[in-house]
C-alpha cells in the first residue's frame, strides 16, 4: 500500500476534538528522523557516485573529475576571491532585476484586476509577451541596451515580471467577495480596501508568483551571462569550459545550484513569516 494513502487515510482527531483536548495530532514518533536520514542518504549516495564513478573509469575523469577535485577547485576559487567576485556580480544583477519586476508587476497586476478597461486593453499584448521566451529576446535587449549591466538586468526583470503579474492578477481578482462586502459596509476607501483587505488576502497567491520569479531570476541570468558578460557565474562557467578548467567549471555550477537553493528557501521562509496566521 503506498505511504501517501496510508498517511492521508489514517485516523486523526478533527479540529473540534483537538480544540477540546488542547492538543494537535502529531505524526508517529521517529518518522521525522527517518525521513531526515533518508534525505541525507540521497545526497551522500549522489556524492559517492560522483567521487567513485570517475575513479573506477565509469566516466571519463577528464570531463567529470571526482567530487573531491571539484571541492578542491571550489576552495581555491573561494580563497582567491574570484568566486566571490562572480557571485556578487550575479547576485546584484538578479536581485535588481527581481526587485524591479516586483515593483512593476504588483501595481500593474492590481490595476489589471481592478479596472476592466485596463484589463481589456492590456490582456492581448501581455498574452503575446508572456508567450515569448525571455532568452529569445536577449539579442533585442543587447541591441537596444548594449552589452553592459542594463541588458542583463532588463532580461531578468522581463523573466520575473510575468509570473508575478499573472499571480497578482489572479490573487487580487479572487479575493473573497464577502471580505470586500464587509470593507464596503465599513465605508473603506478603495485605497484603504486595497491596503488592508485585498493585498493581504492576495499575498499568498502573489507569493507563488514571487517564488517562480526567484527561480527564473537565477536561471535566466546565468544563461544571459554565458552569452555576453565579463563577470558573473554564467560568464565564469562558460569561460572555464572554453579554457578546459573543468574542475572550476563544476565548482561554479555547484555555486549556482547553491544560489538557487538559497533564493528558494529564503523566499519560502519569508512567506512562512508573513503567513504565520495560517499556522
Amino acid at each position: 500500500m503506498p505511504d501517501l494513502l496510508l498517511e492521508r487515510t489514517a485516523a486523526r482527531p478533527n479540529p473540534r476534538q483537538e480544540e477540546a483536548a488542547e492538543v494537535t495530532a502529531a505524526p508517529r514518533l521517529g518518522t521525522g528522523l527517518a525521513s531526515l536520514a533518508r534525505g541525507l542518504t540521497g545526497i551522500v549516495l549522489l556524492a559517492a557516485i560522483w567521487e567513485i564513478a570517475p575513479r573506477v573509469g565509469l566516466v571519463n575523469d577528464y570531463f567529470v573529475p571526482p567530487l573531491s577535485q571539484v571541492a578542491q577547485a571550489w576552495w581555491d576559487l573561494a580563497r582567491s576571491g574570484e568566486l566571490l567576485r562572480h557571485l556578487e556580480a550575479s547576485v546584484v544583477r538578479s536581485a535588481t532585476g527581481f526587485g524591479l519586476a516586483l515593483a512593476l508587476a504588483i501595481p500593474l497586476g492590481a490595476a489589471v484586476a481592478w479596472y476592466r478597461p485596463v484589463r481589456e486593453v492590456l490582456t492581448p499584448p501581455l498574452e503575446l509577451f508572456r508567450n515569448t521566451a525571455a532568452l529569445a529576446l536577449l539579442p533585442v535587449f543587447v541591441l537596444i541596451l548594449g552589452i553592459g549591466e542594463t541588458s542583463k538586468i532588463a532580461i531578468v526583470t522581463y523573466a520575473c515580471f510575468f509570473p508575478v503579474l499573472l499571480n497578482t492578477i489572479s490573487g487580487v481578482g479572487n479575493v473573497d467577495p464577502q471580505l470586500l462586502r464587509s470593507a464596503r459596509v465599513l465605508g473603506l476607501s478603495p485605497v484603504a480596501t486595497f491596503r488592508k483587505v485585498v493585498f493581504p488576502a492576495a499575498l499568498p497567491t502573489i507569493f507563488t508568483g514571487i517564488r517562480i520569479a526567484g527561480a527564473a531570476a537565477v536561471l535566466v541570468l546565468i544563461a544571459a551571462e554565458m552569452i555576453g558578460a565579463t563577470a558573473g557565474l554564467g560568464y565564469f562557467i562558460n569561460y572555464a569550459q572554453n579554457n578546459f578548467l573543468i574542475a572550476p567549471m563544476y565548482a561554479a555550477i555547484l555555486t549556482t545550484s547553491a544560489l538557487g537553493l538559497a533564493v528558494n528557501y529564503g523566499l519560502v521562509a519569508l512567506e512562512r513569516r508573513l503567513s504565520r496566521w495560517r499556522a
Partner: protein, 278 residues
C-alpha cells in the same frame, strides 16, 4: 443611539439570463413598504429566495433600489455608512488578524480614535460578547459561534444606530445558536440599537423578535407584521415551551404556509427552492 428605518414602495430588479440565454428582468421586490421603529428588534422571516437579503442589502446601501425610497433616521440611504452595521451569514473575518485585530479593523475604518483607544474599545466589545479571553486568537483558532461573536463585536464597536444581521446563525449547530440568540437579546437590551434580523427559522424569529415581518415571494413584499408578546426575562423558564410561544409560532407558520400554497405546483416549487442559492 438608534434610528428608525423606513422603506417606501421599494422595487428591486435583477438582470438574469434564461435557459435560452435571453436577458430578462427578474423582479425581486415590488411595492415593498416597511417601517421599523427606533430601538426595536425586528425579525424578517420568509422562505429562501423571497428577497430577504435583497432588503438588507438595500438598507445597508450596498445596492440601490430600482424604485422607492429607503430612509434610516432622517437620512436617505444611497451608500453604505457607519450608522449601519452588518453581520453576514458567512463569518467574514480577516483571517490574518486576531479577534482583537478584526474589531480594530472596523475602528480604523471609522477613524477618530488613537491606537490605544482602539485597543481599549476592541477589548470592551469583545468583553460584551464574552470573548475577552480569546482576543489574541486567529479566526482559524475559533469555533463558528466564536467567529460570529467577533463579527458582532466588530459591527457594534463603532456604535452604529442600526445593526443588520443576515441569517447570522444559519450555519451554527442548534445549541450554539440558542446560546447566541440569548446573548443577542442581552446585547440588544444593553445597547438599545435597532436590530434587523433575517432568518428562515420560525422558532428563531419568534424567540428574538419584538415584531416579526413575514415576507412572501415573487415578487417579494411584506405580507404581515406580527407583534410578539413574550416574557423572555424569566431565567429559569424555557420560553419556547410556553403556550404563548406556540401560539405566535403557529401564527407565523400559517402565514408562511398560505404563501407556499399559492404556488400552483408544490413539487416544482420545492425543486426551485433546492436549486436556489439562499
Amino acid at each position: 443611539m438608534s434610528s428608525a428605518i423606513e422603506l417606501d414602495g421599494v422595487r428591486q430588479v435583477f438582470h438574469v439570463r434564461d435557459r435560452q440565454g435571453r436577458r430578462q428582468q427578474f423582479v425581486a421586490l415590488e411595492g415593498l413598504d416597511l417601517s421599523i421603529r427606533a430601538g426595536e428588534l425586528f425579525v424578517l422571516v420568509g422562505p429562501s429566495g423571497c428577497g430577504k437579503s435583497t432588503v438588507l442589502d438595500l438598507i445597508s446601501g450596498l445596492n440601490r433600489p430600482a424604485a422607492g425610497s429607503i430612509r434610516v433616521g432622517d437620512r436617505v440611504v444611497d451608500q453604505p455608512g457607519l450608522d449601519r452595521g452588518f453581520v453576514f451569514q458567512q463569518y467574514t473575518l480577516l483571517p490574518w488578524r486576531t479577534a482583537q485585530g478584526n474589531v480594530e479593523f472596523a475602528l480604523e475604518a471609522a477613524g477618530g480614535l488613537s491606537r490605544r483607544e482602539r485597543r481599549e474599545r476592541a477589548r470592551q466589545y469583545l468583553d460584551l460578547v464574552g470573548l475577552d479571553e480569546f482576543a489574541d486568537r486567529y479566526p482559524h483558532e475559533l469555533s463558528g459561534g466564536m467567529k460570529q461573536r467577533v463579527a458582532i463585536a466588530r459591527s457594534l464597536s463603532y456604535e452604529p444606530e442600526v445593526l443588520l444581521m443576515d441569517e447570522p446563525y444559519g450555519a451554527l449547530d442548534a445549541q450554539t445558536r440558542e446560546r447566541l440568540q440569548r446573548e443577542l437579546l442581552a446585547i440588544w437590551r444593553r445597547t438599545g440599537t435597532t436590530i434587523v434580523f433575517i432568518t428562515h427559522d420560525i422558532d428563531e424569529a419568534v424567540f428574538l423578535g419584538q415584531r416579526v415581518g413575514v415576507m412572501s415571494s415573487r415578487p417579494g413584499r411584506i405580507k404581515a407584521v406580527v407583534d410578539i408578546d413574550l416574557d423572555r426575562d424569566h431565567p429559569d423558564q424555557d420560553v419556547r415551551s410556553t403556550p404563548e410561544f406556540a401560539r405566535h409560532r403557529h401564527q407565523v407558520w400559517s402565514l408562511l404556509r398560505s404563501d407556499l400554497e399559492t404556488v400552483d405546483d408544490p413539487a416544482r416549487a420545492e425543486a426551485e427552492e433546492v436549486g436556489r442559492v439562499a
